[in-house]
Symmetry: C3
Subunit: 282 residues, 3 copies
């Protein structure tokens, strides 16, 4: 597998910004290869929340240019979980416009995003040094950053470790989604800073369920809602169902947190039902 060098290193972790973790990893990348542009995607993933990190990567990937994704949300650091580097299958006519490599722990964090980018072309297990005497490794700093730097530089993936079967990569369970006539039942997969509630469902699911414009949301308490195309169509106390900027159905309020109104969190399941005019939910 020949190296496809250059672009940026796109960096996502659950390290937060209060400690120097992210800074030291950035410095480690640059120490190995000076001049790499490093783009922080976010370091605000909830500690150890692999699913939250995986979903953030999925949302980000369509908007990234060429380069290497370096992602670390790693509750299993120090266990035998594998450290991996993956190359992305070049897509016909796509011309290597997105990230060409992903580096991180083999715990489900990466595969969804790699699927969006084009699918796994090749995967290797990165050697993790044993350091029983001198202390724990900080894998972001000691394992993943050097691997990302070398891939950025053009080192072939297979020079970084032993190939592994891509089908053996850990995968997370898919978000819950169930579509029936008049109802979409879907997992809350993201609550953003503004309190918008992104569902694991898209506009096609709303169409398949024939939801209509007048809606009821069970979360589990019942709330009335309306299908809208912009926040500003909503009154101050109205809940709206929009197609958000990631192409997902989302429950929103205008300048208010829909998550607070609905009292939901990521992982909760909500049901959106069409309301028959003049009657109850259908």
């Amino acid at each position: 597998v020949a190296g496809r060098a250059g672009g940026s290193v796109f960096f996502l972790t659950d390290y937060g910004l209060a400690d120097e973790f992210a800074g030291v990893v950035r410095a480690s990348v640059l120490r190995h290869v000076p001049g790499v542009p490093i783009i922080d995607l976010t370091h605000g993933v909830t500690p150890f929340d692999v699913r939250e990190g995986a979903l953030a990567l999925v949302r980000a990937v369509p908007h990234l240019g060429p380069g290497v994704v370096l992602a670390v949300v790693d509750p299993g650091v120090g266990t035998p979980r594998r450290a991996v580097a993956l190359s992305v299958r070049p897509r016909a006519g796509h011309g290597g416009q997105g990230p060409h490599h992903f580096v991180g722990p083999d715990n489900g964090l990466l595969p969804w995003a790699v699927d969006v980018a084009g699918g796994v072309e090749c995967a290797v297990a990165l050697p993790v040094p044993s350091r029983r005497d001198t202390g724990m490794t900080f894998d972001g700093r000691d394992v993943f950053a050097p691997a990302a730097a070398r891939l950025w530089q053009g080192t072939a993936l297979t020079d970084l470790g032993d190939e592994l079967d891509p089908t053996s990569l850990e995968r997370l369970t898919s978000p819950r989604l169930s579509v029936s006539p008049g109802a979409v039942e879907a997992e809350v997969q993201w609550v953003d800073r503004f309190g918008n509630v992104q569902l694991a469902a898209g506009p096609d699911d709303a169409t398949a369920a024939a939801l209509g414009d007048d809606l009821e949301v069970l979360a589990p308490d019942a709330h009335r809602a309306r299908r809208v195309t912009a926040f500003a169509e909503l009154g101050p106390d109205t809940l709206g169902l929009i197609v958000d900027a990631n192409g997902h159905l989302a429950l929103v309020c205008d300048r208010r947190s829909a998550a607070t109104v609905l009292r939901v969190h990521p992982g909760d399941v909500v049901t959106v039902r069409g309301v028959v005019p003049g009657g109850g939910s259908r």
Copy 2:
């Protein structure tokens, strides 16, 4: 209007850092024009607080080198509010040392800072794609980042959209300030991380009011204060009035939050009065 390319992209939003919003916009800028240096000013503006963002830009602009300011605090995203790009009038003898372009929503966020930079030379409305079917736009990612990238690259402003009358740009109401003999009544325009309380008043206002060195602050509870030139002149329980590093009057304590002592927030109005020696306030 010819393009004046180069420098940095200076980036300010209310996106926070917990989500990947700021990261995706950074990536979007680089995807359009690789190699742009992006300087985060802050992403910690209170959600939807256009005034707070506008004041942060005003404080930052005098210290920025050449480049493009990309600022997004945008409660009206998805409404007919305009998206704008502005060029800055070159100042005599100033030689293009500061930002030459500003990009953001037309809601008052930009004009104050553009005034500080030299004033609006030319303004255009950026086309905002309609996406009723595929979902909301994320204007930071889809509209403002590409415009900032193209301006950085040297594209002429008028190639980005239709010219608009600069006097039609939305402007915020000026911060409240009233100066009378012995008293300055001023809006709190910023409480920083350290609890310093910046007022919408400068040293000339203190001079015009002949405030003197012994002061009373009504916020609305009365507190004694002293005019000082450094934090260290203050005892542990003393409130001081200084001229801060932005040239504003500010109420401060030494290693303590003056905002907590005064129980004030941005937007509150406080009165600073001179105290006649041996008597009450004058």
Copy 3:
């Protein structure tokens, strides 16, 4: 002292990210010398906590490439405390791999980290402009950033200010550590985002005390603990003593905050004692 230019500017402060402080200092560095790569180490140091900042620098320095460390945690801004720039003694065989200069306040923030980097070669006091009339200086923006930029560019240290005696630099008191047979008493020097409790002690101290694998921690309440080499060796309710990724002894739990379990904070002193099998602590 000849300039050794290039590398990165490594930037650490207690400014937080809610305000534009860090952004303005970044912009100030670039305004003086366009093209400097700036690596944020962290801006999340507790306000005014010089010790916390100094310890973060000590942990970061071994992993930094060449460049200038720009660090500002400065409760004494505006007082006669000196502003300093330091060059690092080149280490035999080390070839200038780490930072070659440090810039910041003379309050103990820098010397520990400079010691790790190789020790002070030369030190100068940076002139701090007096601005009684136009307002306070923002030393990060107005004094330290320009100095860091000029050092990065290759300006000789002694061109930046008057030489001072390196032994006159302020130093913090060393973290508390006491080793006796069967017990290590040590200061908590860091609680990270994950709640890991780093002690001011290393594996040699555990060896010297002959701690063994079964342990009791007094914090001051007594807790049982085990010496482990990885988080995953710990059950859900077990406290472990590991050698962390900075080579320090640390008290940890698996995916849980050991600091919350122990109710300790940085600066507290804890005692780790060996437990004699079948008996009490020895």
